[in-house]
Structures are given as C-alpha cells and as structure tokens.
Amino acid sequence: MPNTQEIQDLVVQVRRDILRMVHKVNSGHPGGSLGCTEFLVALYNEIMDLKDGFDMDGVGEDLFFLSNGHISPLFYSVLARRGYFPIDELNTFRLIDSRLQGHPTTHEGLPGIRVASGSLGQGMSVAIGAALAKKLNGDDHLVFSLHGDGELQEGQNWEAIMYAAGNKVDNLIATVDRNGQQIDGSTEDVLPLGDIGEKFKVFGWDVLEIENGNDLEQVIAGLQEAKGRTGKGKPVCIVMTTEMGNGVDFMMHTHAWHGKAPSDEQLAIALEQNPETLGDY
C-alpha cells in the first residue's frame, strides 16, 4: 500500500473546505461531497495520470467526469488543491460573478471542468464519448466518471451502460457512489435500485466493489484494481459504498444533509472534528 498520510491530510483539509464553502453561502450539498472525499482526493492525487495545466481536449492524460454535479464543493476543492486554479477562489463558491457555479460548468472557463453537470444522468454518456475520442486518437489514457446511486434512476444511464458494454468501451471506469440516500429518503424507499453491481454485470460490465469508500486504503486499492482490469474488452464499474456526511458525526446516517448547509454552531463542531492540516483558504 502507498503511504497514505499525506493524502489523509488532504482528505481532512478538503472536508474543511467543503464545510466552509457551503456554510458561507448557506447553500450547497455537503452530504454527498463528504461521502466521496476519499475517492476524489485519491483519484486526483494517487491514481490519475495528469498533465500540468489544463486544456479542454485532455489528450495524453486521464480524464474525470463528475455526473452527480451537486457535489461540486468537493470537486472544486480537489481541483484547487491539485493546482487547477487558486485555492483562494474557493471563497467565491456560489457567489455572483464566480467561476465556481452551484453546479460545475465550462461556461465560466474554470480549469479542470470539461462539461456541465447537475441535471442528472448525463455524465456517463459524455464519459463514453470522451473514451471513444481517446481510442480514435490512439491515446491509451483512461476516462473515469462518478455517479450518484440515486442518479441511476435516470433512464439515460441505462442507454449508456448498454452502449459501453456492447461497444467494448474498455478504457472507462465508472464509479457509483452507493450511499443509499437521495433527497426524499433511502434509495430503496424512493425507487429501489437493488443490486447495482449485478445490474451492471448482466449488462456486460466488469464489476468490482469497494466495500468501504471512506477507507482511503480500500479506495486506492480498488481504483488500482480497476485500472488493471481496463483494456480487456469490458467497461469497468466500481460500486463503492460510502457514508453520506462522512467525517462529521451529526451529518452521518441520515439524508438530511444532502442539500443543507450547517449553522455557525454546527460548522464549529464539524471543523473541530476535522482539524486544519494543510491550511484553510
């Protein structure tokens, strides 16, 4: 296993960023952001092969697409701390004239973003297109994507899942954040998703699981295993179980923090549970 202390420090710092960003504007989505922090931090700092700087085409590097765009606070923090734009700019999240819109967009020219997302269910199709372009360009880099579990209720995903398997898009690793929650409650109460891994399998994907998506070592190991399974004729799916609101005790085991910001007092408690590691913005 890689030495994960540095990345663990980054995870805690990103959690602080998320909490402070949504608190400042009293809006945004902390729950899913906190649940996927280990994943996105590991992906950008341990797994993906990235060029310096940013260009839209991303030829010669791995690409990532965030389909569940509402976890933008996480995405912005990870991108800023990876050097895509100044960390101070996190201060502008959701403010007027900001490049850090409520949901990610290319429209304001924020480096690191390659497509708008927020209206759910569209990211896998875009990731497939980018993966096909890589094949046409003879670029053997990979395309990663992240999807909410509730988001799989959108039918477009199943068009995409069918397409990727049928056309052997084997340079794609799609991860499903299986936190079991959506706005109106448990996914199994709102519209049951059942065994997501089995569903991908019968559609023809190679599926693996990360049992605890909030365990950094498990996440890194799972992503490395997934990379090893690319290029073998099947798209790869990771079903990753996470805890929404992870790292903040009162935000866990509930869907209440899907799209709600903490109060001043709640922020203080949450930050106490996540002491500063790399410096606040």
Binding site: M56, D57, G58, V59, L63, F65, T105, T106, H107, R114, V115, A116, S117, G118, S119, G121, Q122, G123, M124, S125, V126, A127, I128, G129, A130, A131, L132, A133, K134, L136, N137, D139, G155, Q156, E159, A160, M162, Y163, N167
Partner: protein
C-alpha cells in the same frame, strides 16, 4: 423576375448525406452518430468509407447527444443525426446542458422535420423544433431549402466552432440553387428583387415562395424573395433593407407560427421598423397523416397560401 430551374427533384436529407460523404473524405476529425436511422439519413457512404468514425447508438437519442458532447473532448467534430422530433424535443435537456451550456462543437442534424414527413403522422412531424433550438443560447439554427444547399450547409458547419442545429426534410423537392455553392452561415440570400412586398422564406417554403412570386408578377405585383436559410443568427440587415423598400412582409416556414422564423422576423421589425407582417406557418396545431402535398395544402403552407398572404398584407400597408 429571376428565373430558377429545378435541376430534378431530390430530398434535402440526401444533400446531408452527400455533404457527409465529402466531409468523410476531407476532414478526418468529422465523426457521425446515428440512432437506428442510417438509411433515412442517407449516410451509408460515409459509414462505408469511414467505419471507424461512425457510431451506431441504437434507439437511444439521449445517450447519443451525451456521447457526441464527449467526442468533442479530444477534438472530434460529431454530427449526430436522427429525425427532427427525436433530435430536439426528446433530448432537450441533454442538448441544453451537455452541448449548448457546455459549448460543445456538436452538429445536431435533423431529418424529417415538419409536416412533409407525411404518412407517419403527428408523432413524427415536429413543428416546434426551430423554436426549441433557437431559444438555446449559443445555438446556430439552419434550415436549408434544397439538396444543393443542404449539402453546402453540411460542409460549412464543420468549419464553424460551436453547436449547430441543421434541419432538413424527407420529400423530394425542387433542387434549384447552384451546385457546389459556398454556404455562408447567417447570410440571407436574395433570390428575386422586388418592390411591393418582401417574402422571407426558409426550408421547403423557399421554392414555394418563388412559385408564388411568379404568379404575383402576372398580377402586376413585384415580390422580393429572400432565402433565410439561417434563422439564428438572423440576417437583420437583409430583412430591414428589404422592408425599407417594400413596406410589408410575409414570412413562410414549415413550422408553428409560435417560435419560428416569423416570430424572429417580427422581433427585428418591432424593434427597428414596425411593419405589417403575415405568417405562413402552422397555426399552433399538430400535424396528421397524409401525403406531403395534401398536408401542405391543408395546413396552408404552399405557394397558394403564400400568394393569399401577400394579397392580405398588401392591403395593410
């Protein structure tokens, strides 16, 4: 009046196919996607000559639009094609978020637009697509009038960076514009100069407007006919210059009068030079089954309807 000759009836969708064949040979970044309608879109030759640059997505238009958006990341120029109804209304949010808002260089190429799809009926005859597409910020909307112009437009949009909606149709219609013409996006084309009335037409209605102008000439009425192949961006100057001379306008399109060319023209006129205008368009209705000719007659979209609209607008001058 200026004489135009029908070089032999052809469908505008075959113009798209011919344009794609040429692009396949000349632009290695052009890729094509289709949702189970290869034969209807006439792209067989492109596929045969460039199998690695063609993506059959099946009956899954939402996925097609997303894949097209993704293909631009890496420098491809995707031409995503299907029937107009499934290329717009069915996938509006996919186009809105993944293509238009994301400023992706995708060409949405839509056949079987309007009533002239014919016998399949209203489920397949979209009369709202121009409105849907022109409302999207950054979207260019083009509706060429015949085979030659559709081919030229197909080739031209590959050179334009940004999302484009290219609308064409199913039936064989007069092919009267020059072979191998240069197509300039947003530049209206003067087809016949006149002094009494301006006819602004798009798509299949352009030829019908020329027929109407010929008949009007015999009645001593001088009609100016302008081909508005690009509805967005609209050639405001060409419209205003003509209206200054004639003082009244008829717009003609195979589309609902709500949201179509006519409304775009009315906006320009209301802002700069309020002018009497009549709309040859469908009147907020769905279509139905029938032959293209029967439908155009019943819904008032042919040369006779244009002629009647001219006589009406002249009285309002």
């Amino acid at each position: 009046m200026t004489k135009y000759t029908d070089q032999g009836k052809q469908d505008t969708r075959s113009g798209y196919g011919a344009g794609m064949t040429e692009l396949g040979r000349t632009n290695p970044n052009v890729v094509a996607l289709c949702a189970d309608l290869i034969g209807s879109l006439k792209i067989d030759t492109f596929i045969k000559e460039n199998p690695e640059r063609f993506f059959q997505v099946g009956i899954a238009e939402a996925n097609m639009m997303g894949i097209a958006a993704g293909l631009t990341i890496g420098g491809k120029i995707p031409f995503a094609s299907t029937f107009a109804n499934f290329a717009t209304g069915r996938v509006y949010d996919q186009i809105r978020q993944s293509i238009a808002y994301s400023d992706k260089n995708v060409k949405i190429c839509a056949s079987h637009a309007g009533l002239t799809l014919g016998e399949d009926g209203a489920t397949h005859q979209i009369l709202e697509d121009i409105g849907l597409m022109k409302m999207l910020p950054g979207m260019t909307v083009i509706n060429p009038c015949d085979f030659n112009q559709t081919k030229a437009a197909t080739i031209a949009i590959a050179e334009h960076h940004g999302p484009v909606y290219l609308r064409f149709g199913r039936p064989k219609v007069a092919n009267f514009t020059p072979v191998d013409q240069k197509f300039e996006i947003g530049k209206a084309l003067m087809l016949n100069e006149g002094t009494d009335v301006t006819i602004l037409a798009t798509g299949h209605l352009v030829w019908q407007s020329l027929l109407a102008a010929e008949s009007l000439e015999n009645q001593g009425i001088s009609a100016e006919v302008i081909n508005i192949h690009t509805i967005k961006p609209l050639d405001d100057k060409a419209i205003l210059d003509s209206v200054k001379k004639t003082g009244c306008v008829v717009t003609a399109e195979e589309h609902n009068y709500l949201g179509g060319l006519g409304e775009s023209v009315a906006r320009v006129l209301a802002t700069h030079n309020p002018t009497p205008q009549e709309f040859v368009a469908t009147q907020d209705t769905f279509g139905e089954s029938g032959t293209p000719e029967q439908l155009m007659e019943k819904y008032g979209l042919n040369n006779k309807a244009i002629e009647a609209a001219v006589l009406k607008v002249l009285k309002r001058k």
